[in-house]
């Protein structure tokens, strides 16, 4: 060992303990190069950028509370007699799953709280993902290079729905059992394979003795495992791509402006976890969720009115409720369209939003990276499509609660159902057109603002008696922010004759693309933003108006 080495190790010996531990770890894990890239990573500040964090944190809360619940829950369908502390169920026959959930709720101290935190977090997790996804959609954050991360997020949303559904079914109460029965009916409706899948899933006839145990491993292991992987991938990509930002002074496609991870975002994001957890804990203290004791144990011959799934399945429930009862019998077989069409539609509606980024990039033909977010108004067709999609989703939710709409607003359930049936077709179209018009109107207003300045509301009377409103010219920051967005020109079909005079065939897909491109960026579908010349002409020509 050389002297130099000795000196160095002695110097290290005097370094603070934390540094020595870090050095030790770096020698084995190479953490310093990782930290170099990430410790002072910049994140922009905007409340809507924290929606994803709401999802991440509620996911972590769900895992923490879920692990606790597994310590007490018995995923078994063996019938037992109840002898716990809830009087109105004394001596009733019920599955061990239901019995142990009652035990958690009434006899484990804090068990009810953890159960309620788990369930409330699940509802908030899904709601958060929905809103986060819409934020990403309406600001165009799904564009290159983030398409894959969009798909990761979408998969998380869909898997979250099914994880939620399997978890909701575990207590084996009358409400969730009714939901499982519905699932069985939906599976049976699948042509050719339906009956077999149902028998394999339930271990024979419904309800059988197996589904709680099977749903349990799906709910606590299979789906959350996949989701955890996707969440990690989602986060790595967020770090790798760096966060998007809204247009503004100093913000370009080539930079990201904000504050560093250490210390500001460490404190803000870390603190936000505790804020989310704390808020949900308080909600679990004051609002009751899924009181399975009031619903009673599942029996296939009992039911309660108001049989609905948790909100995230409400849209599927709605599709099933307002579908007419079509059934076709042929050659000894039955095609249960009344159930199967909603099942397919469920996938189609969700799939439509998932593939949208790829459709849009095909229409624009844009291959460049986008890190500056769009304001929804500056992408009227996309915004219109998004609102139309939400409308379909909301119509489904209304349909899924049609009985409660009927009782609470003194309407006829048949009328509500018919209203929903019509809205399913009319609603999205109206929403699309209205949204697009609003967007164009807002674009026009921006146009005005850039050219003529902000309306101050001050009315001035000129010497010759004319009244005018004083317009205050915008600052350069504002001018830049309002004109920073990029506008596409509609695509055209290229020359049909090449340089050698040989005619080429125009493919159908190309024609379609041009048509769509015109629908997106054609003359009436976006307002050309003001040019420098226009601005100069107005500001210098007439003087300030």
């Amino acid at each position: 060992m050389s002297t130099a080495d000795n000196q160095e190790s002695r110097a290290r010996g005097k370094a603070p303990a934390g540094e020595r531990v870090a050095d030790w770890a770096d020698g084995r894990l190479g953490i310093y190069s990782l930290a170099k890239a990430n410790m002072r990573k910049i994140f922009p500040d905007h409340w809507s950028f924290m929606l994803g964090e709401v999802c991440l944190y509620s996911f972590i809360i769900i895992i923490l509370t879920g692990v606790y619940l597994t310590l007490f829950f018995h995923p078994s369908m063996n019938e037992v007699e109840y002898h716990g502390s809830y009087v109105p169920l004394q001596g009733q026959l019920m599955s061990e799953a239901f019995n142990s959930t009652l035990h958690i709720s009434f006899d484990v101290r804090g068990g009810l709280l953890v159960r309620q935190i788990h369930h409330w977090s699940a509802l908030i997790f899904l709601a958060g993902m929905f809103v986060h996804m819409m934020r990403v959609f309406f600001t165009g954050a799904f564009r290159k290079p983030r398409e894959i991360n969009w798909l990761f997020g979408f998969l998380l949303f869909v898997l979250g729905m099914f994880t939620g559904f399997t978890g909701y079914s575990l207590p084996d109460d009358l409400l969730s059992g009714t939901g499982v029965r519905f699932t069985e009916g939906a599976i049976l409706s699948m042509p050719i394979v339906g009956t077999y899948i149902s028998y394999f899933l339930f271990g024979g006839e419904f309800p059988g003795h197996d589904f709680v145990a099977r749903f349990y491993s799906i709910h606590i292991l299979l789906l959350p495992g996949i989701m955890l992987g996707l969440v990690v991938g989602h986060l790595i990509l967020v770090f790798y791509h760096k966060h998007t930002q809204f247009a503004g002074p100093g913000k370009t496609e080539k930079n990201v402006v904000g504050m560093p991870l250490l210390p500001v975002y460490m404190a803000k994001a870390g603190g936000f976890f505790f804020l989310v957890f704390g808020a949900i804990a308080v909600i679990a203290a004051i609002a009751q969720i899924n009181p399975i004791w009031a619903m009673g144990p599942y029996r296939p011959d009992q039911v309660s009115t108001g049989a609905q799934p948790d909100w995230y399945m409400g849209f599927a429930e709605g599709l099933v409720r307002y579908m007419p009862g079509w059934e076709i019998n042929f050659w000894g077989h039955t095609l249960v369209l009344g159930v199967f069409i909603p099942l397919v539609l469920f996938g189609v509606v969700l799939g439509a939003i998932a593939v949208y980024p790829f459709i849009e990039s095909w229409v624009t033909g844009d291959k460049s990276e986008h890190h500056i977010l769009d304001r929804p108004r500056n992408a009227p067709t996309r915004t219109g499509f998004g609102v139309a999609w939400i409308t379909v989703y909301m119509v489904g939710l209304v349909g899924g609660g049609n009985d409660l709409w009927a009782t609470h607003f003194h309407l006829s359930i048949n009328a509500v159902t018919w209203f929903v049936r019509i809205s399913f077709f009319v609603g999205p179209v109206v929403a699309f057109i209205a949204t697009k018009r609003i967007c164009l109107g807002l674009q026009r207003r921006d146009h005005e603002k850039v050219l003529h300045g902000r309306e101050t509301g001050i009315i001035k009377r000129l010497p010759h008696g004319e009244f005018i409103e004083v317009h205050e010219p915008l600052s350069q920051e504002q001018l830049h922010t309002l004109t920073a967005h990029q506008q596409y020109a509609p695509a055209e079909i290229g020359p049909t004759v090449d340089e050698n005079g040989v005619e080429r065939k125009v493919k159908g897909s190309e024609k379609l693309r041009v048509k769509l491109s015109n629908a997106y960026y054609g003359e009436d579908n976006q307002i050309q933003k003001p040019t420098v010349d226009e601005y100069k002409e107005i500001t210098s020509g007439h003087g300030h108006h």
Binding site: L188, G204, P207, P249, K251, P263, A279, A281, Q288, D366
Partner: protein, 352 residues
């Protein structure tokens, strides 16, 4: 497509990105990016008093959190798990759940609030730009990777030795089939089990409520009764599976009100027995309106007319509720005259 080029005049003005750089307004382009605005100080940055106030607020929040955790532990130990309290406007609730939730929530929330307040008021709030680098690799890296891959592929000789390639693909394709095979024993094959229920000729209809066999005179016009087959007890091994198919809904109509001829034939003195399981997706349908003779499903609102062969008059169900043919045995009890003639419950592919 013209598209992706950002119009020249809107490209950011060349500027020093250093923080606070004030660029002179571009005379040529009024829309040019003026660069990051200069940083403005917060009160806490210039006034040590204010900073100390913030420090105290953060410390107070952290202290509150500690107190709340102590409160949590005290509540856990001190409050009996079955104690009920009335809290306005929530109602009668479990004291333990309320106390634990509030203390835990406060403990967590105060940590978060403290950390965020600290970050917002005392940590540097200077906005700094970080450069982005294109995600795509530079051309030479790209070329290198392609070349390396081609080299590797060539060395493996996979392209040349087709026999290896094809048999390997074959093996890899087949091997997952073992996994699929292993799923076979998840459940039995359906066979005809969906077509049969416990009902058979001579089975008495037993009242769900009293567990006694029903007599025709027990069933009044306008009443609603649920029945199960004789011999099926709640403690039976297969009670859940059997009741899921055999549950029966019994109503009595004035024979003159029955519009469907087969329904009348299969009834006994106006007493009709229909499957309680909805033909849509299997909810126990039983919202019987005795004046209209309609029965509504609480799950998806399929509506059936019990005076007309239980045909569907609204909603997503695809076919009528199956009817059980009933009569009276020698001792005067209602009995089934056979099983249902068609499968009960939701439709399926093999139903026909």
């Amino acid at each position: 497509m013209s598209s992706q080029d950002i119009p020249e005049e809107n490209l950011p003005a060349e500027q020093d990105h250093a923080h606070g750089a004030v660029t002179v307004a571009d005379e040529e382009n009024p829309f040019a990016d003026p660069g990051l605005p200069p940083h403005e100080h917060r009160i806490q940055d210039i006034d040590e008093q204010a900073a100390r106030r913030s420090e105290r607020a953060v410390a107070l929040l952290f202290t509150l959190s500690m107190l709340a955790t102590v409160g949590f532990i005290v509540s856990y130990v001190a409050i009996p798990h079955d104690k009920s309290i009335f809290v306005f406007p929530i109602g009668h609730i479990s004291a333990l759940n309320f106390a634990l939730g509030l203390t835990l929530g406060t403990a967590l929330f105060c940590i978060g609030a403290g950390a965020v307040h600290w970050a917002r008021t005392l940590m540097s709030d200077v906005e700094v730009p970080a450069e982005r680098h294109p995600i795509e690799a530079p051309a030479e890296v790209r070329a290198q990777v392609h070349a390396d891959f081609r080299q590797g592929a060539k060395e493996s000789a996979l392209g040349r030795r087709k026999l290896i390639r094809n048999t390997m693909l074959g093996a890899l394709t087949l091997v997952p089939l073992s996994g699929v095979m292993l799923l076979r024993d998840l459940g039995p094959l359906p066979g005809t089990s969906l077509r049969h229920t416990l009902w058979a000729k001579g089975k008495r209809l037993v009242n769900m409520n009293t567990n006694q066999p029903l007599r025709p005179e027990d069933v009044a016009v306008g009443s609603l009764t649920f029945a199960k087959p004789d011999g099926l007890e709640e403690k039976s091994e297969d009670f859940q599976n059997e009741i899921a198919k055999a549950a029966l809904m019994i109503v009595r109509l004035q024979p003159g009100n029955i519009k469907d001829k087969r329904e009348l034939d299969w009834a006994h003195e106006g007493i009709v027995a229909f499957s309680k399981i909805c033909t849509h997706v299997g909810c126990p349908i039983s919202l019987y309106e005795q004046q209209t003779h309609h029965v509504l499903c609480p799950c998806h609102q399929s509506t059936f007319d019990l005076s007309d062969g239980a045909r569907v008059i609204f909603g997503p169900a695809g076919h009528a509720l199956p009817q059980l043919r009933i009569g009276v045995d020698s001792e005067g009890y209602l009995q089934a005259l056979g099983d249902f003639e068609e499968p009960v419950g939701p439709a399926f592919w093999e139903r026909g």
